[in-house]
Symmetry: C2
Subunit: 465 residues, 2 copies
């Protein structure tokens, strides 16, 4: 009969049976209690430790359940074979400190939106109605996304973006990034990406084994000849509003890209239509997908994160019919990545006309903000500032003639509490082609009231020294 | 001056300027209107078509904006270079008909849960509070998941699953499938998977370029020798409740697997702890991750889809500290895939003690259901039925001694409106090792009141002929 050295703490949070279990399991794992060792009977151990017999019994049962002990008629509990102690784990690494958050006075990043414009009341009402009226939404939904949302998204995209598609072509996913990751595996091949362009798309494609070839854009966007020369089989583009330069691709250029795609089998264009809801003149350009048709070579992507809120992770993709079979074969068994309640909330939000009203409101607010900002900047730098990309989207390119250079502009702005990026950072290759003195100015998260102070802060930061 | 053949429909939903724009763009794309062609002046065209001048002007402006036309002082609007018509798109493929939904009388699939047990009132209240009280949740959140949810999940997993981790190791994602996809790219290598096992995990790993090697399990789960022999560098296992056999891996076997992982560099174990909340005897086994420690070779995965609802797409992963750097490098720029409102709702649901109470309720309900079902089945097939996997999880293995064979059992059950799967379908390799007359019986989605009728339906379906 073995003598057990056990230290239990009757006032600890961990129940005594857990403590006893842990102590015994530990001694078995470390080999202190060897195979075949017979443990004291429940009663005697309980007595010696001043525990209830039940406590000891529970601990013993747990050890039996987990294969530490065997229980034999009459002969009590024996330690089972344990082939040698575990190698000691390395000393725990310390938990790294959280990165310090800079508090910016003005946020000109391109990722933010004005969350104050979110339709809290309507959204909350629909959400509440659904939770109580539609328990079936707790169950598994269609893998490509809930039908109501796909129908509403398809109708919206047909009407406002000229997208041509049937319900079966629409896929809802938790953000464009997620969908691009799936597309990368689906299409394979090397992908041409716009230079300058969106670094994260490149990261996702590369993470998924797709080689990315940066192709320099011109004033019409991605040039077909350069695309052809790149040898890529897939082209990722932002034709409505090139990111970050704001170039809109003219129709003839669009046709040339479609020809490129149709000129060889298995060539595809990924159209990232990330912010075309925000067109401030006549109306948004119809999508390239619409020009290609539902059987054409274009995969259309859009997100609701900019029109609703960044934290609402919903994006929609329209797959060309010829790709549906391949998609089903590869991803047909994947569950949807978006909560059905949120899908249905958005579906009804669009269906009942709230979405188009909401967009109209956003457009007028953002347009006004853009114009106020442009005026303030032109006033702060008379004749020295040039602004590109005013017609669409939620950011501008600001070029300061005879400015102190991009790096100095960015550093000085940041020192003054202005969060912004230089254009050079968006060059995936050949940064020497980057125009001088140019920064990217996102205004979606900038409160209108802050604009005068911002302009003054930049004027001071960038004045000639 | 060209003669335009245009057919506009004044009563169509599409506004006239859109129709005019579309007609002209179409004629330019097809080459019917050649480069350099001069279009009629706005007034004359308006007059000849009986339109307002404004309507024509808007259409012309759109065509200019999109690069179809150029506008010259005095000389009006000319068609721009369009290099040849687009190749005609193939005739649209028909939209495939939706697959017919079988209406089952009884659902014994393993994917369902009893959504009637969902805590509607509490969940809805927290959700509502958050929407109005926490607008900051609309903005981008931490990429690994919101801090409150990660803290609560970590505390819960430490207390109830013996998981050892800090906040920085927890990643929230839109379902285990999504996280497994990221892990596949992160870890690479060939992966040993349990045979029989969960086909979808295999599909995801293979979709992400990971070769899967099915390893036959024994009564203790994945055998270390076979794992070693497989040459795999990663092992995907379900130690708490092997899917679908229900085997619980004994502690000595767990230690052997950890030794396998520690015996060579870059070996990893993915512990899929998908349903261990549902342990009906003493208490759930502590996780393998807990035995390995926070710097050990185990990646821990769990989901809230079974404890809350399948449509709520939230899963948690615990990364070993040694992998955090690699994770950051690869996925540090990815946005979270889960809505922050839902993350925060769950975070508070756990924090305020609702989750553990909810789990206790689920456990007692499901345990009762399992016992009622087991009794009903044993009564329906006196001495002929054998049930495995009663202690954990939400499904049983049912073996019918001298039954008509698995295929016949499944077919006859389905003919009687019972949705269930045979065990053979879970064999990824060597189906000949599959025990005869065995089916997988999930009872989570089975209303208790249906149990007698279900047992009777199976008795009739499976009676000797």
């Amino acid at each position: 009969m073995v003598e057990l050295a056990l230290h239990l703490d009757p006032v600890a949070d961990t129940p005594l049976y857990e403590q006893l279990y842990g102590a015994l399991a530990g001694q078995i794992r470390t080999g202190r209690l060897a195979e075949g060792t017979r443990l004291p009977g429940k009663r005697s151990l309980a007595a010696s430790l001043g525990l209830a017999v039940n406590t000891v019994d529970t601990a013993y049962q747990m050890l039996v359940a987990e294969g530490y002990l065997e229980s034999r008629e009459r002969s009590g509990f024996r330690v089972l074979a344990w082939d040698g102690p575990l190698p000691a784990a390395p000393a725990p690494l310390p938990e790294p400190p959280a990165a310090p958050q800079t508090a910016w006075r003005f946020d000109l990043s391109t990722s933010g939106v004005d969350t104050g414009l979110f339709p809290f009341r309507t959204w909350g009402r629909i959400q509440k109605e659904l939770l109580y009226s539609s328990p079936q939404l707790l169950d598994h939904g269609p893998r490509q996304g809930d039908e109501e949302l796909r129908r509403q998204a398809a109708d919206y995209l047909r009407a406002y973006r000229g997208v041509q598609c049937g319900l079966d072509q629409v896929v809802i996913g938790a953000g464009i990034e997620y969908l691009v990751g799936l597309l990368a595996r689906l299409l394979g091949g090397a992908a041409a990406v716009e230079n300058p362009g969106y670094r994260r798309t490149v990261k996702i494609l590369e993470n998924n084994g797709v080689e990315c070839i940066p192709v320099d854009i011109d004033k019409g966007g991605l040039p077909p000849r350069a695309l052809e020369a790149s040898g890529a089989r897939v082209a990722c583009i932002t034709p409505s509003h090139q990111f970050p330069t704001g170039v809109t691709m003219p129709a003839p250029r669009r046709a040339q890209l479609l020809k490129w795609a149709m000129a060889a089998p298995d060539r595809w264009i990924i159209e990232d239509d990330y912010d075309s809801e925000f067109r401030f003149d006549i109306r948004p350009l119809p999508s390239l997908q619409g020009m290609a048709g539902e059987d054409g070579p274009v995969i259309y992507l859009t997100t609701f994160s900019k029109s609703l809120a960044p934290s609402i992770r919903m994006a929609a993709m329209v797959l060309p019919r010829p790709l549906l079979g391949r998609w089903q074969a590869m991803y047909g068994s994947y569950s949807s990545t978006v909560s059905r309640f949120e899908q249905e909330t958005l579906g009804r939000f669009i269906r009942d006309g709230h979405f188009t009203r909401h967009l109209a409101r956003l457009r007028s607010q953002y347009k006004q903000r853009m114009e106020t900002l442009a005026e303030a900047l032109e006033a702060a730098f008379p004749g020295r500032v040039e602004l590109q990309g005013r017609h669409t989207g939620l950011h501008l390119l600001l070029t300061l003639k005879d400015g102190p250079g991009e790096t100095a502009m960015v550093d000085r702005a940041r020192a003054a509490g202005v969060r912004l990026e230089g254009l050079r950072g968006y060059y995936l290759a050949r940064p020497e082609h980057c125009p001088e003195n140019t920064v990217v100015v996102g205004y979606a998260a900038l409160p209108p009231g802050d604009i005068p102070a911002l302009a003054e802060a930049l004027r001071t930061a960038w004045q000639k020294t």
